[in-house]
Point group: C2
Chain length 363, copies 2
């Protein structure tokens, strides 16, 4: 298998995504994207022992600094961001310093936001090492940290210079993390790729078995789908919001159970099932369509319902503080049909009520 | 006197600056720039008692929240930023919330950065109430907070929807603050407006006497000069750097004496004199030119030299951590002639050494 290269077309902020095996070992992949003499690698305690050495080899001759963050969504906050700033300042990093994110979505989100803010913006490269980060956060330039009262509330749109998605790094990924990544892959099928959805119904077992070919296909299709959406709507004023299928429910679930209890992909999986059920209530999906969603999510070993122990008022309050609320209205991404999502804020309130009740979310 | 309106031409991010008396009293000036239903006014304990009520009158019918910050540069940090985020979250502010900065440069820098980051960017309006903020931070979209080891190290380029510079608010400004603002006005004369420089040599006494007509002329000329530079170079890759005349020295002075001891404009004034002296060393300025700079700064009641008690190594180390360092080289804005600045990094090291020695900065 050879590496694929895909371009995210954002005018003067366009950047390439390299996808394939053995990319970290090939020093000529990363090096051309480093601008100045200084590099700050941001990674975490889990990823550093696995891949930091390989990355360092690609940076020989440069002034390389490393910030190792504690692993986990609960550290995705302003305090962690400050440790990166402290290290950048301590190393006297100038405005041509490249910030290199080596890790999953959390590392990418924090490191990207640090790059966006340090000296009002320094170059930034992503090396995502989880399936979720490779198919989701690698495209689109969303960076953020969490606020105690809401996920991703503090952040910036900031594009990397390049993304290097080495599929070999998925070999060391925990099963649970792999499944969480598949949730986002399923999402692309549901919102705009009916044929890919059908492909997934056949190949989820191959993905779970970490079949290299299947993974590369899934990553490439996902990145392509997301790149098309983002190129059309960089700042999420319209179509890009469709990428949030399952996310308003999902973010609320994540917040309600406490950051880090459920993985982002797990919460999104349950959120997508809830959105699909609501679409069924609105008669946009048929019972058979809904069943297909349920089966696919279940086949991937992902949760098909929110946890039992969260209350309606708590979930709704977190949903309302989500960024998808516009001028006080709770706007949701729902399915018009399988493979076609739409943004909806004119649903009858009973549809949301019935959905919550169906999933036994009551006060 | 009628109000002036000036446009900062940044394509889709273009915005107007209204300059003149009685603007806060005219409700139709501010209101058209408010997008959603929610407004977060960010101000400080000094400005709030003076002008918050007038601003509130212009926002009747909207959902108005207020964050009152402690007054002073030493609060321009991440902790203060977090209180704004906390208040935005507590008030369930959505992504169409307008952040309105009412105050001087510190309030504008923090509030603007909060607006840039909250939900990855919400609308932002500036009502600058100091001369410095009206002529400097109101144009160009630079927002930031300080890092303990360097000024303005954490920030974003983020443009407001509009700036409303009500000259009446200068009536309550302390003399020292007024003079600090004049430092930046002088800067525009020095870097690109020789005729304005000559005008200033005649009219500094009028500015110090708060002559309304003279102030309006100075604000308008300064904003116009800055708007032209910023429109040509929004992200400070080239010409915009010239606006930093006196700032590399100045920021280092501010940091060395401790934030809040010297006002920004005071440090910049001394920094401009140092830059002018170095230009004299390089034989770009004549002794008579240098004397004109010295006289003008002195006439405005501003410092013409750095404080005596900072050491050479300390000043140089702060200068090196300034953002104007590129790939490790200390790049300075110097004067090619009066009214014409240039970016210089090929000066002989002795020129900088001689300049520091002249101002009695030694180890």
């Amino acid at each position: 298998m050879t590496a694929l290269k895909l371009n995210v077309d954002l005018g003067e902020r366009r950047y390439p995504i390299h996808i394939g095996p053995r990319l970290l070992q090939q020093q000529d992949v990363l090096r051309p994207y480093i601008a100045g003499q200084q590099v700050m690698v941001v990674t975490n305690g889990t990823v550093a022992p696995l891949y930091l050495e390989a990355v360092r080899k690609g940076l020989v001759g440069l002034d390389v600094h490393v910030t190792v963050l504690p692993d986990g969504e609960r550290y995705k906050n302003i305090a962690t961001l400050e440790t990166i700033f402290d290290n950048l300042m301590a190393a006297a990093c100038d405005r041509e310093t490249t910030v290199l994110a080596l890790g999953g979505g959390v590392v990418g989100d924090i490191a990207g936001f640090a790059a966006a803010c340090y000296q009002r913006g320094v170059p930034y490269i992503q090396i995502p090492t989880t399936l979720l980060a490779q198919v989701d956060s690698s495209v689109g330039g969303k960076t953020a940290v969490n606020h105690p009262k809401g996920k991703n509330m503090i952040g910036a749109f900031y594009q990397p210079r390049a993304v290097i998605a080495d599929t070999d790094t998925l070999a060391t990924l925990a099963d649970r993390e792999l499944r969480a990544g598949i949730a986002e892959v399923i999402k692309y099928g549901l919102i705009r790729e009916p044929e890919f959805l059908a492909w997934l119904e056949q190949h989820v077992p191959n993905l779970l078995a970490r079949d290299a070919e299947a993974l590369a296909i899934a990553i490439n299709r996902s990145c392509q789908a997301k790149a098309e959406v983002v190129a059309a709507d960089e700042h999420e004023r319209g179509e890009r919001a469709l990428l949030n299928l399952g996310h308003t429910f999902g973010h609320a679930i994540e917040t309600a159970v406490g950051y880090g209890q459920w993985l982002h992909g797990e919460a999104v999986a349950a959120g997508m099932v809830m959105a699909a059920f609501m679409s069924l209530q609105l008669k946009d999906l048929s019972p058979a369509d809904y069943q297909r969603v349920l089966n696919l999510v279940a086949q991937a070993g992902l949760p098909v319902a929110p946890p039992a122990d969260i209350t309606r008022s708590r979930l709704l309050s977190f949903m309302r503080s989500d960024k998808k609320v516009s001028a006080g209205r709770l706007r949701l991404v729902l399915l018009k049909q399988l493979g076609h999502a739409h943004l909806c804020d004119d649903y009858p309130p009973t549809a949301l009520d019935d959905t919550l009740r169906h999933f036994q979310i009551t006060d």
